[in-house]
């Protein structure tokens, strides 16, 4: 989905709020939110792709105003309800107030029908795919051409894995793009490397 989470290259954001030795957590509940979602993954209640997708499904106004760990706890609660482990009413009763959730999921998809093996140095193009469900292709590389640098071990295919759809594991390719090609006349010179699933790629002609 072309969701609010897909921030790479979006313009208008201000300076990074950088401090040296910045903390990972700002409050005890943040530590606990992190532990609870890690526990759910370890217990096999949901996988990391389902977890990421439930964050992406948060309504944009909620997503942008929530802190990082509020997004975590929203994803966790949404998935626990969708998996019928708890009900929304029970969570709201226990919390003593409204408990906003992520929006329902749209369909996922399995691997691309035709996938090709690439070698370092191959020129590849990111397919012009638009999907309603989970995808790990950042929008800024859609349709763009880059060069394969390396191949990873195989991973579950996120577009399927986030939706409990059967699919083959597949490798990702580390593809090197030029920032000037990703945003012509509107980016600073740099090389941008993205881990791109095989199903998202075709050979550049």
């Amino acid at each position: 989905m072309d969701g609010m989470h897909d921030l790479g290259g979006k313009q208008g954001f201000g300076p990074v709020r950088y401090t040296e030795d910045a903390p990972a957590f700002h409050a005890e509940w943040e530590v606990r939110a992190n532990s609870l979602y890690v526990l759910a993954v370890r217990r096999g209640i949901f996988n990391m792709d389902e977890y990421r997708h439930a964050i992406e499904r948060m309504e944009p106004r909620h997503y942008l105003t929530a802190t990082y760990y509020e997004r975590s706890l929203t994803s966790l609660a949404t998935l626990l309800i969708e998996k019928k482990i708890v009900s929304h009413a029970e969570l709201e009763q226990r919390a003593g107030g409204r408990f906003p959730l992520a929006a329902p999921s749209a369909p996922g998809r399995t691997n691309a029908a035709e996938r090709e093996r690439f070698e370092p140095g191959d020129r590849v193009r990111v397919r012009d795919d638009y999907v309603p469900g989970h995808v790990r292709m950042p929008g800024y590389i859609r349709g763009k051409t880059g060069v394969v640098v390396s191949e990873s071990p195989t991973y579950p295919f996120p577009d399927a894995h986030a939706h409990a759809i059967a699919a083959e594991d597949e490798p990702t390719y580390d593809v090197r793009f030029r920032a000037e090609d990703l945003w012509p006349n509107s980016a600073e010179a740099a090389l941008v490397h993205v881990g791109v699933f095989q199903s998202y790629l075709e050979r550049a002609r």
Binding site: G8, P23, A24, F25, N34, S35, L36, A179, V192
Partner: protein, 198 residues
């Protein structure tokens, strides 16, 4: 719940919502309260940048280890007793040089090799870093205090899959000959993310 109810029924605080989830899991036989104490400890005491700092210090002092680290990060960090979650199947170590600065990010969420370089700092997870670092990397780094000369090439690595990255910083010349333990003390998390040089 109708919209009218929501006006008079305020949203629970994040603290209340987290406590509600934990209590609900306990009530449904998941025994969360027992398990989360250990996970809280791992997150605050074990998944810390000092792990990665030990890796960097060893790579600086042991050329054979450096070669193994660059070839297979997961296997090399395991030699130092550092484990990675099952879904992190690949650790790519990015070697900085006098003319190359590698920088890692995650534009879609906030993925990191957290068992190696520590859980990500707040700014790494913020909208500003995630949106801007891929498109205006030199300006962003400069704003963060790293003003790179024009001849330094910037390579940004967006963590879009479950492959994880860490940056191997350049060893400061004044530290040549130091013992590994002392070297590990000077390696910062931010240098392993690539937004600072040592």
């Amino acid at each position: 719940m109708s919209n009218r109810d929501s006006v008079v029924y305020p949203t629970a605080t994040p603290q209340q919502r987290v406590a509600a989830i934990q209590a609900a899991l306990d009530a449904h036989g998941i025994n969360a309260s027992e398990a989360v104490e250990e996970l809280d400890h791992l997150a605050q005491e074990r998944w810390v940048p000092h792990n990665g700092a030990r890796v960097v210090a060893k790579a600086w002092t042991d050329p054979a280890f450096r070669t193994r680290l660059l070839a297979n990060g997961c296997a090399a960090v395991a030699e130092l007793g550092i484990t990675m979650p099952k879904h992190h199947r690949h650790l790519v170590v990015l070697e900085n040089t006098a003319t190359v600065q590698n920088v890692i990010c995650c534009t879609q969420c906030s993925c990191t090799a957290f068992t190696v370089i520590g859980l990500p700092p707040d700014w790494y997870k913020d909208l500003e870093y995630r949106s801007r670092v891929v498109r205006e990397s030199r300006t962003v780094l400069k704003e963060m205090g790293l003003d790179l000369p024009p001849e330094v090439e910037i390579r940004v690595w967006d963590t879009t899959a479950d492959t994880r990255y860490m940056v191997l910083p350049v060893q400061p010349p004044q530290t040549f000959g130091w013992p590994e333990e002392k070297l590990a003390e000077i390696v910062t998390r931010d240098s392993m993310i690539g937004v600072s040089r040592l």
